[in-house]
């Protein structure tokens, strides 16, 4: 495969996978928490939270990217804090690409998980409580296993979105080969260069293959999880 893809192309593929996995992996607990809060809790500002979560879906990606740059750039209020406290720099680094991807994928993941949580009968959770399970145990032993198909669907959707993220990424962290040049950015770059069509086409094929593999995997996992839940 390394022969078939040039080093620069290979780099873009590997970077995209790394960025997307980190983006989805790190945001998953937060996605589940947000989905649970939106599905089950009544609190002030619930609609506002819902709006903020969905904002990246509606805003032009370039706006999201610019807002990230303002907030998380080295001179931005949050970027400065992160750098001082943890030595974590986001602007023009792959970590920033992961943040942009996570933000763009978040609403899709939350939405899928939220639907799954809303489908869980709260009566089952009540039954678990009467058997002695505290809230966290009820979640771990009843809710989470029951929403697993939805979580898988959400993760795959988020992963696909992260793999394809373009606008916010290029605005926030630019297009630096080996650092922030993800798959879509690399395809775009190759298309700008005379004679880059071949490389672009190869990366397009890789994109299609990754997307198909992710979809198939999620189908299989979700079906297996759904079977467990339905209890045939």
């Amino acid at each position: 495969m390394t022969d078939w893809l040039g080093p620069e192309e290979w780099q873009a593929v590997a970077l995209s996978l790394k960025v997307s996995l980190w983006a989805v992996g790190l945001s998953l607990p937060l996605s589940i928490l947000a989905a649970y809060a939106l599905a089950r809790w009544q609190f002030r500002g619930k609609q506002l939270l819902n709006g903020i979560i969905h904002l990246p879906l509606i805003l032009p990606p370039v706006v999201t990217g610019y807002l990230l740059l303002l907030g998380f750039g080295r001179r931005g209020p949050l970027g400065g804090v992160l750098e001082d406290a943890f030595g974590l720099v986001l602007a023009f680094r792959w970590t920033g690409a992961a943040l942009a991807a996570a933000l763009m994928a978040f609403p899709l993941t939350v939405r899928a998980i939220r639907l799954a949580i809303e489908a869980v009968d709260p009566k089952l959770e009540q039954a678990a409580a009467t058997l002695g399970a505290s809230r966290p145990w009820v979640f771990l032993t009843v809710t989470l296993p029951l929403i697993l198909p939805g979580v898988i669907a959400g993760v795959v959707l988020g992963f696909a979105k992260a793999m394809g993220e373009f606008g916010a990424t290029i605005t926030f962290v630019s297009n630096i080969p080996g650092q922030t040049q993800t798959l879509p950015l690399a395809i775009y770059t190759f298309l700008q260069v005379p004679g880059g069509d071949g490389a672009a086409l190869r990366l397009v094929l890789v994109s299609v293959a990754v997307a198909m593999a992710a979809l198939t995997l999620s189908e299989v996992l979700a079906r297996r999880a759904a079977q467990r839940v339905a209890g045939g």
Binding site: L124, A129, L131, G132, P145, L146, R228, A230, G231
Partner: protein, 362 residues
């Protein structure tokens, strides 16, 4: 161990305002739909927070509005059996049964999985999924699951209401065994007089959120004033009995305080204690010992009370030995026989009119 309940809670259109005590045995919370039964049992379980009042188990408060005590559901340790089973679909029967065990305090006495599986006939279902069980099997698993969580008491909210008549008859003996072997107090919500008559030791009658009558099952069920609540067709007395002997012609002779009863063959051995439900409309009243009658059961007694209904009928309460029977007869007959409190009468009951399902264990 006994449960004290004293709560008020507003519901749309009326207010639940109850006070009662559930001693050991089965306390049936009886009432029509919408009487507030589920509100009360959910308050006991902690699934609903009443507006005011106090709920205590053997003196230990589970809820006390004035002392701001409200023990969370998972720390009350009351096994709850719901009408709809609520088995966990993602777990096997075995995992469902043992679900509550890990949360129970260690080292408590109580039955283990094998014992409970045996008691409820679940041995061959352990590796199945709830989705593959029949309604009756699901409910039996729900009983076992509640029992294995080492509860201090069992709560049951119409556990048989979702089952058809055949499944109910199949489950009732298991429930009786559960009641007798576990020794746990049970709060049993039901709108079925037959279930109450068969299982309850204490009956609390709810109407529009109020307790209208509470007491030992035999007394409440044979109270003519409660006929309206139980319904004319369902009203009837419950008598404790002991199996005297089985006769060769297929009849079983029962000893009750007021005499002997002959019923179609019962399964329990001679000497076993049982209870018999005799419906008010199956009892004929005679003013002297009848001659030339096909009915086998003629019990001498004395009229204690008469209660007129709205129609042409009335209810007569008859003392037979230590027990009280109810008879539903027409007002015309009552006048013809000059029935009045103190009048000596004979209660006549057809043997075959007592349904097999109205004869219960213990």
């Amino acid at each position: 161990m006994s449960l004290q309940v004293e709560i008020t809670h507003p519901l749309p259109g009326f207010e639940v305002n109850v006070a009662f005590e559930a001693p050991g045995g089965v306390t049936a919370l009886f009432g029509q739909s919408g009487a507030g039964k589920t509100t009360v049992i959910n308050a006991v379980a902690g699934l609903l927070r009443p507006k005011a009042g106090r709920i205590a188990l053997s003196g230990e408060p589970l809820f006390d509005a004035s002392a701001r005590v409200n023990l969370p559901v998972h720390r009350r340790r009351l096994g709850y059996v719901f009408q709809d089973g609520r088995l966990f679909p993602h777990l096997s029967v075995r995992q469902n049964l043992t679900y509550g065990q890990r949360f129970a305090p260690r080292g408590l006495p109580g039955p283990g999985l094998d014992e409970v599986a045996d008691l409820l006939g679940l041995d061959r279902l352990l590796d199945r999924r709830p989705g593959a069980l029949s309604g009756g099997e699901k409910q039996r698993v729900a009983f076992g699951r509640a029992l294995l969580s080492h509860p201090r008491m069992l709560l049951m909210d119409e556990p048989l209401a979702a089952l058809d008549a055949a499944r109910k008859d199949e489950i009732l003996p298991y429930l009786e065994r559960l009641r007798d072997r576990s020794g746990l107090p049970i709060l049993y919500v039901s709108h079925s007089v037959a279930e109450v008559a068969r299982l309850a030791t204490t009956v609390v009658v709810l109407e529009a959120g109020q307790v209208v009558r509470a007491g030992p099952a035999e007394q409440v069920l044979s109270d003519p004033a409660m006929v309206r609540q139980f319904g004319l067709r369902e009203a009837g007395a419950v008598l404790p009995a002991e199996i005297a002997c089985h006769h060769a012609d297929g009849l079983t002779e029962l000893a009750i305080s007021g005499g002997r009863l002959f019923l179609p063959r019962m399964e329990q051995p001679a000497g076993a204690h049982t209870r018999v439900r005799i419906l008010a409309h199956d009892v004929i009243v005679a003013d002297r010992a009848p001659q030339g009658l096909s009915a086998l059961n003629v019990l001498p007694g004395e009229v204690i009370a008469l209660r007129e209904g709205q129609g042409p009928g009335m209810i007569v309460q008859i003392q037979c030995g230590a027990d009280r029977l109810l008879a539903r007869i027409t007002r015309r007959s009552a006048e013809a026989l000059a029935l009045a409190p103190g009048r000596k009468v004979h209660a006549v009951i057809k043997s075959v009119s007592i349904a097999r399902t109205d004869v219960a264990a213990g």
